[in-house]
């Protein structure tokens, strides 16, 4: 991580001098899911480097977005038929993030125009799938909203309109909750610096969420050798059942 920060600094140094620029890093660039993993927090921190000492603090904003690996979502709508609720219409949304967290210094609509937010996919309102199984956007919209609602209920999608915390003039910090049920894979942490509604600097840092240890081995075994895995499960079940009846026979 230190190397990455150093790399980011070198990159910044090589860039043309702007009035304000951004440096950011993560408290950890890897989350390891172990057997007692129950969710964690990641801290995104950063600083705004300013060469323009006359710039006032009031007009600049920072938005931090954490995006999980893309997934496809199949959304179904129920209708009532003869008293029973039955799935009728369905739409598949391709390429929505598996996890999404947007923190900002102010509510997003106050920071930038709807078009800008949509272009950078900032905030749950602006979050769009790459494509959908229906071509008509109006038809897909209720399904998109339903998918976002469902992910928000699972705490996998969230917005924190005042989640970017400034420590002094240029240092900022964001606490990103990573719940227990997050998808694994590569995440991207995007930090945007806004001035007067325009993005003037942005930085992306990868974050890896991986299973390690026994959990990883079990996961891979289940997918690589499913028959053997199932057989081992049955064997374990059989032994536990048999063992307990032996144990109880002695103690009885």
């Amino acid at each position: 991580m230190r190397a990455m920060l150093a790399g980011a600094l070198c990159l910044l140094a090589a860039m043309p001098v702007r009035a304000e620029d951004l440096v950011s890093g993560l408290s950890q660039d890897q989350v390891q899911i172990t057997s007692n993993y129950a969710g964690t927090d990641i801290v995104v921190f950063g600083a705004i480097e300013s060469t323009d000492t006359n710039a006032s603090a009031g007009q600049r904003d920072v938005v931090v977005v954490v995006r999980g690996p893309d997934a496809d979502f199949m959304v179904r709508r129920k209708v009532r038929v003869a008293g029973l609720w039955i799935n009728r219409d369905k739409t598949t949304l391709y390429g929505l993030p598996g996890y999404y967290y947007a923190a900002s210094t102010r509510p997003l609509p106050e920071i930038a125009s709807a078009d800008t937010l949509k272009r950078y996919q900032l905030g749950l309102n602006a979050l769009q799938p790459k494509s959908a199984s229906t071509r008509q956007p109006a038809k897909a919209e209720p399904f998109r909203l339903a998918a976002i609602r469902s992910r928000a209920r699972a705490r996998l999608y969230a917005e924190a309109p005042h989640g970017v915390e400034f420590l002094g003039y240029s240092l900022f910090r964001v606490r990103v909750p990573v719940p227990a049920a997050v998808p694994r894979g590569q995440y991207n942490v995007e930090v945007y610096l806004f001035r007067d509604g325009n993005v003037i600097s942005a930085q992306t840092t990868p974050l890896y969420i991986e299973q390690i240890g026994l959990e990883r081995r079990i996961f891979h075994l289940a997918h690589d050798l499913p028959f053997e895995y199932g057989f081992v499960t049955v064997l374990m079940a059989g032994l536990l059942g048999w063992g307990s009846s032996l144990l109880f026979r002695r103690s009885a």
């Binding site: 008293g83 029973l84 609602r149 469902s150 289940a222 374990m236 079940a237 059942g241």
Partner: protein, 305 residues
Amino acid sequence: MEIYLPIAEMSVHWLILLGMGAAVGFLSGMFGVGGGFLLTPLLIFYGIPAEVAVATTASHLTASSISGAIAQWRRRVVDFKMAGVMIVGGVAGTVGGVQLLTLLRRVGQADLVVSFAYVLLLGIIGGLMLRESLAAVRATREGTPVPPVHERHNWVHGLPFKMRFRQSRLYISVLPPIALGVIVGILSAIMGVGGGFIVVPAMIYILRMPTGVVMGTSLLQIVFVTATTTILQSVSNFSVDIMLAFFLILGGVVGAQYGVRMASRMRGEELRLLLAVIVLAVALRLLWGLVATPSDIYSVGTGGA
């Protein structure tokens, strides 16, 4: 301590899993049913993905049924021949059931069909058992002897391919037990149940087996059907969570032992009355889920199709 389930991809407290396993195992030992019809909804309610709950429950049933079956076998109340005939049908049914489930998933009606089937089956069986066991309990209280069920004749005795089942004191066709096995295999694959709640009443009311033999025989049959289901589910759906299974089983096998002991202290008709009430309660709960207005009429699944 929270533990992370690698296939379900979530963290749960191990004591809760142990407790759920023990409670269901207790009922399993007591009634000779697998208890899957309780455990599967319980796991889903707790937040385990339905697919994982169905598949993992099967392995829990294998363990608690083995433990229960051994306990019954020591009391010499298992009809191995009957169990063998039913297992033949059961394995065939499981293979068919996994394919049926894949088809239902593709058209998006798996949840509905499964719930509706649950409500119908549990409602009918629970109702029948409730009526019969209430009559038996009343008869015992009044001191009028009830004719033993297995001595009455019905349509089953008219079918061909008869075989002698010494332990059950029956001479009947092998067709009803095989058909029963097929049905149970399908249910096991689709609902993650061992099928005990169907097998036990069917053995008593259709095959006319003595109640004492029914428990051990159905448990033995459940062992084989659920073991087949576990392997097929992990091959075709990768949905068996061995970590989840381990904790459920640990609670389950202990619970089952106490259940068997409790059962030997209770009267047959009282056991059936209790089981009937539980079965009807689950049926009502599932029916409510079908007719009540959902909090969100949209449901979201990952993975496109």
